[in-house]
């Protein structure tokens, strides 16, 4: 739920962007896959520990080359995920900005929010189902509830820490509140907000999966739990790999988006940050 590491942008190794770095990483990936292959061959237990090759083939058949599965299960999962995450992003920025600008409001909401974000979100599944049923609304609500906190906290912190000179300058030019918000405060807080969105995305994926595992009639998580109940271990592993690929792709997309947005910002503010 928390993201202390976020405060410290991960230091990239000097050689990580270079060709040697890329080669080293590819080699490590290959080594990992090879280790699984060798380990499972030695274990000789194809029921529980299928080889990398078997899993890859099943991943291809079951998901990647299977449009029906995408339409019936992939799309619903992604829709819930993105719906919940976007809702969390909007709500989080709105609440966070208000809390960051108004100290009294932050005092009022602090204890309440501290309590709410301490509830492990999966524990909310039973009451949410009682309240909202097992449909998409419940799943989106659960994702919203769990993924909103990193955005709220980062937006509030980013907004509260906008350089006072920047704020004063904006006020000296008698900009309207709306202009101050959209042209000064939010852009200045953007790096923190984006960092919060990254953390909240990984929480959203977790909650999408757990809500579908727990109660659903379609979705990737639903397929996963069906495979488990039917003792189809290969399907289980293939779906786990699929979820990993989805998480990886979403993180990559967000990183690209972040780089674009922040580059624009740096150009605007003259690269002072």
């Amino acid at each position: 739920m928390t993201a202390g590491a976020r405060r410290h942008p991960r230091r990239t190794d000097a050689d990580q962007g270079t060709w040697t770095g890329v080669a080293l990483r590819l080699a490590a990936v290959a080594a990992l896959v090879a280790a699984w292959q060798v380990g499972t061959l030695l274990a000789a237990d194809p029921v529980f520990w299928p080889t990398a090759e078997v899993i890859a083939v099943r991943l291809w058949e079951m998901w990647i080359a299977n449009p029906t599965a995408w339409v019936e299960d992939g799309m619903p999962s992604l829709a819930r995920l993105l719906g919940g995450w976007l809702a969390a992003a909007l709500a989080g920025v709105a609440i966070g900005t208000a809390v960051g600008l108004l100290p009294w409001l932050s005092h009022v909401l602090e204890p309440v929010m501290a309590f709410l974000r301490s509830i492990p979100p999966p524990a909310l599944l039973p009451p949410f189902i009682v309240l909202l049923g097992i449909g998409d609304g419940m799943k989106v609500a659960l994702i919203l509830f769990g993924a909103v906190w990193p955005v709220v906290l980062n937006a509030a912190d980013g907004v509260a820490n906008v350089d006072p000179t920047t704020r004063d300058a904006a006020r000296a030019f008698r900009l309207s509140i709306a202009d101050i918000l959209t042209r000064v405060v939010l852009p200045a807080a953007a790096p923190r907000i984006l960092a919060g969105l990254r953390v909240s995305l990984s929480i959203a994926v977790i909650l999408m999966v757990i809500s579908e595992l727990y109660a659903a009639t379609d979705g990737i998580g639903f397929r996963l739990v069906q495979a488990q109940r039917g003792f189809r271990t290969v399907d289980v592993w293939a779906t786990v790999v699929l979820l990993g690929l989805i998480g990886y792709a979403l993180n990559g997309l967000l990183a690209v988006l972040e780089a674009r947005l922040l580059r624009g910002q740096r150009a605007r503010t003259g690269g002072t940050r």
């Binding site: 490590a28 189902i129 999966v209 592993w237």
Partner: protein, 260 residues
Amino acid sequence: MDGASTLTRALRGAAGIALLLALWELTARSGLVNAASLPAATGTLAAAAGMLTDAGFLQGVAETLAAWALGLGVAALIAIPLGVAAGSIAPVRHAVNATVELLRPIPSVALIPAAILLLGRDLDMKVALAAYASAWPILINAIYGVGEVDPVSRETARVFGFGRLGMLWRVILPAALPLIVTGVRIAAGFALIVAISSELLAGGGGIGGWMLERSQPGVPREQLYAGIVLTGLLGLAINAGLRLGEARLFPWRPQARVAA
């Protein structure tokens, strides 16, 4: 932010809590929501008070906490040495970074079905999953913490003649420890999420199992919501305790500004 006194802040915070409870009470009593789905705040809090001495619920809490603590401990035992090694030795760092990049996107809860198949529905399964989920933040923070050790600190130790081992023990570990402990605090949250998730899915024991029983049709809902309230307070207590521990252990670190 510091314009208001501690008393004012406390009063405002209390007002916020009162507001939340009043809103809850009104919603439940107004009939907007089916009374069978959402019990009133008063009834829920009374149930929560009763559960504090309820043997069944307390046993569930103890089971969850046992899995949580074991998982976190196993993760720390593996991830801290590995992270320190990766932070200090470039080839190990490349290998570990690649592994992290590859495995971390897999949502930990997606492994619950596999773990149920492989390990059954016992404590082992919960511990293994909690350990898996909490290893990542600890590992990443350990690598990062070692990388962040101040070069002046390292040079100071070198000038006074410390070798690799002395440097590791006297400088690198103490300097990286605050970030490692922050990693453990982050991991603690994930471990709790995963432990409760696996209880909900495997249908056995712990807080998750207890909630599962209380969500069955025909069971009064007060205890279910009271369980949420108490779980939230438990999470709050764990987090506050770890933060306090950090502040006590590493008083030279500026207080983490936000609890992100």
